[in-house]
């Protein structure tokens, strides 16, 4: 493996690993604070039990998220020193705000996890709310730094140097809002559906009880609202990308030729040599409508870009299909959930419904990983879109592939341990929480 590819793989792997923990770190505090609030209001111990059971898991995810995040702040330099040398002063501002938000989050989490017996109940609850708010804030800041790579602004690039730097303009670049909304919603969808799914699975295995039923309900409230909003956010993003990064849009839709009207290509396997997509479903005018709101509009294809400026089509297109399909599936389940809980509550207790929720467990995170692949791969060959190529930013150190192997091995091992630990936690729920035994 050559070093450039190794560096890209290591970055992809590290981010793909961290993003799961970041999503959980953003969502779970909100779910826990919500559940604790219901306990404080109703006095029902089931909500307290749920909060406590969740917090044991969250402590593990949060710690691994914190260390893998620390690693990323160094990896940016270890792998892409040239990028950081120029981008640091421009996007350092969102990063320093992110650092602040994360700091507040770590402090409040310490209070939340260990303060159960030391604090007033409402103070304790407030610390949970602070964890949730600062978690979401740090997510927004990091994503806006990434958005800047897609939509660089707030500087002038003269002779390979950034001058007239305006960090505020850089942070509030054209992509920050749509990317942040999309990411936050994605975090809530993925985590909520995973949580609901695991509890649904436990209902199937051990029979329904107050603990799991309420846990599914709490998670689905947040998950379904987010999943229904997400397609709108996605549409907003796609229209924006069509304007800002037409090459990315063409790659993710696998549109090789500029067309008027452009057809929507669903699924299939893009073939770069013949510049066509095999085994796909074609919807005439579909892409024109989705990007411009008009069935006859022209959509820019990859042919408008020289070969060396095109993103890899195969990965981007397939990842995009996975993301959209998963998102639609979850949005569909969410609509059903809301409809059922308004008028047909008895359906929510039916076995087929619980099986459906259990089966939905992985799709949120699948969509997150696929979506992250789309935005990162779709930006290639640029690290700063239109300004700096990824290959020009890589570290000159020989032997980068060794660090890729080591990091990959460590992260795979950690993932396995965490899955195993979660299994252990889950299997002891009924031992620790009485409400998990009530039917």
């Amino acid at each position: 493996m050559n070093d450039f590819l190794a560096a890209r793989m290591q970055m992809a792997f590290s981010l793909g690993f961290h993003i799961i923990f970041a999503c959980i770190g953003m969502t779970m505090p909100v779910l826990m604070a919500f559940s604790e609030w219901r306990w404080l209001r109703t006095g029902k111990t089931v909500f307290l039990d749920i909060t406590k059971a969740w917090s044991r898991g969250v402590a593990i995810f949060f710690a691994v998220g914190a260390v893998s995040g620390t690693v990323l702040s160094f990896e940016l330099g270890l792998l892409w020193p040239t990028f950081m040398q120029h981008a640091g002063p421009i996007i350092g501002m969102p990063f320093s705000w992110e650092g602040t938000a994360f700091f507040v989050e770590a402090i409040a989490l310490g209070i939340f996890l260990y303060g159960w017996n030391k604090l007033n109940k409402w103070v304790h609850w407030a610390s949970g709310v602070i964890v949730g708010i600062s978690g979401v804030m740090s997510g927004i800041f990091v994503v806006s730094a990434n958005a800047w790579m897609n939509s660089p602004s707030g500087f002038d690039w003269v002779n390979g140097k950034a001058i007239n730097i305006d960090p505020v303009k850089a942070m509030f670049n054209a992509a920050w809002l749509e990317q942040s909304i999309h990411m936050i919603l994605a975090a809530f969808i993925s985590t909520s559906f995973a949580v609901a799914g695991v509890h649904a699975y436990l209902i199937l295995r051990k029979g329904a009880n107050a603990f799991h039923t309420q846990a599914v309900k709490t998670a689905l409230i947040f998950g379904s609202v987010a999943a229904i909003l997400q397609p709108f956010s996605g549409d907003f993003s796609a229209k924006d990308i069509a304007k800002r990064q037409p090459a990315k849009l063409a790659a993710l839709e696998a549109l090789y030729k500029t067309s008027k009207p452009a057809e929507l290509i669903i699924g299939g396997i893009p073939n770069d040599k013949e510049e066509k997509v095999n085994y796909a479903l074609h919807i005439p005018g579909g892409l024109s409508f989705l990007t411009h709101g008009n069935f006859k509009a022209e959509v820019t294809g990859l042919d408008k870009f020289p070969k060396r400026d095109r993103p890899p089509v195969l990965i981007t297109h397939i990842a995009f299909q996975i993301m959209v399909a998963s998102g639609i599936l979850l949005a569909f389940i969410s609509v059903l959930y809301l409809v059922f809980s308004i008028n047909w509550r008895h359906i929510l207790l039916k076995k087929w419904w619980i099986v459906l929720v259990a089966c939905a467990t992985p799709f949120g995170f699948l969509a997150v990983e696929a979506g992250w692949t789309v935005t990162e791969t779709g930006r290639q060959p640029w690290i700063i879109y239109g300004i700096m190529r990824t290959e020009d930013a890589v570290s000159p150190m020989p032997g980068l592939h060794y660090s890729f192997y080591i990091i990959t091995a460590v992260y795979i091992l950690l993932s396995l341990i965490i899955i195993w630990l979660m299994k252990r936690q889950i299997s002891s729920i009924s031992q620790y929480y009485n409400s998990a035994n009530e039917t």
Binding site: R56, A59, I60, A63, V64, A66, S68, G69, T70, V71, S73, F74, E75, L76, G77, L78, P81, M84, Q85, H86, G88, P89, I90, G92, M93, F95, S96, W97, G99, T100, F102, F103, V104, A106, I107, A108, G110, I111, L113, Y114, G115, K118, L119, I165, D166, P167, S395, P396, M397, P398, S403, I406, V410, L414, I417, L421, R424, Q425, S428, Y432
Partner: protein
Amino acid sequence: MLTIIIIILGASFLLYTLLGGADFGAGIIESFAGKREEVTISKAMAPVWEANHVWLILAVVILFTAFPLVYSSLSTVLHIPLMMVLLGIICRGSAFTFRHYDIVIDKSHKYYTLLFRVSSFVTPIFLGIILGAMMLGRITFDTTKGFYEVFVAPWLNLFCIVMGIFSACLFAYLSALFLVGETTIERERKMYVRFSKRFMLLTMLMGLLVFIAASIEGHDLLSDFLHSVTSLITLILATFLCPVIWHFLNKQKNKTIYLRIGAGLQVSLILIGWFYIQFPVLIKMKSGSSLTFFNTQAPESTLQQLLIALLAGLILIIPGFIYLFKVFKIKSNSQ
């Protein structure tokens, strides 16, 4: 503006050394202590360790925002030791949390503990090595000189290794002093007092070796200290604090707060002294030139925004941090 940013950077570095250092040291002390101490140590560290380590993130963010060239140069040339630090950070944090939160206690506990302890040794050693490499002046960016000269030689030498061991000893010393006040069991307290004394002596010895190793590697650290009055005074004061702390350690009932203030002062004095001889240099290079605060600073507009973020951040962080320590450290001691 630059001055305030440098002060905040220095303060984060100092707080990381003190708090993160005591945290690393806990893993070292634990290796020499028994099974029961493990519980005390876990309990003392669990609520605060994550917050303690965020000081490092803050320092890194300031470095790459305000002094981007320093950050990119360090991460290029010192890739290997930095990678070791990262592996240590990942393994340590994960192993510690796994151990604390694994609901079933069985054989796996032994592996978490092993991993936690090994990484508690490795990480501070490589942190010290990195610091040593920044001081020694063997760093070069001329990649034509070959892999060893550019990516290994600047940090793999006697001076840097002694610096690494010095850091580990210092951290263990800090941690032992901190733990004296964290236990209510007399036998355990006595043991931490013993560890404090041993690691104090060991740290002083290693401090001496740092000067000797420096001169062997051709870096006259001693004359640097002798030429700067401030540095010399801080060094003398830090050494003078040793018998004072020793005295407090010998008292039947330890005044925890004096011990902690004493240790905090010592480390601050050492770092301030070092800062004075190093300033404004961040990385000394083989060519004789250096990367300094001044020749690598980011444009004014960046520094201004960074400062706003930092000051606003500190207004949020400092009260929160004090509250966290009040809830878990002061309250638990008085109970």
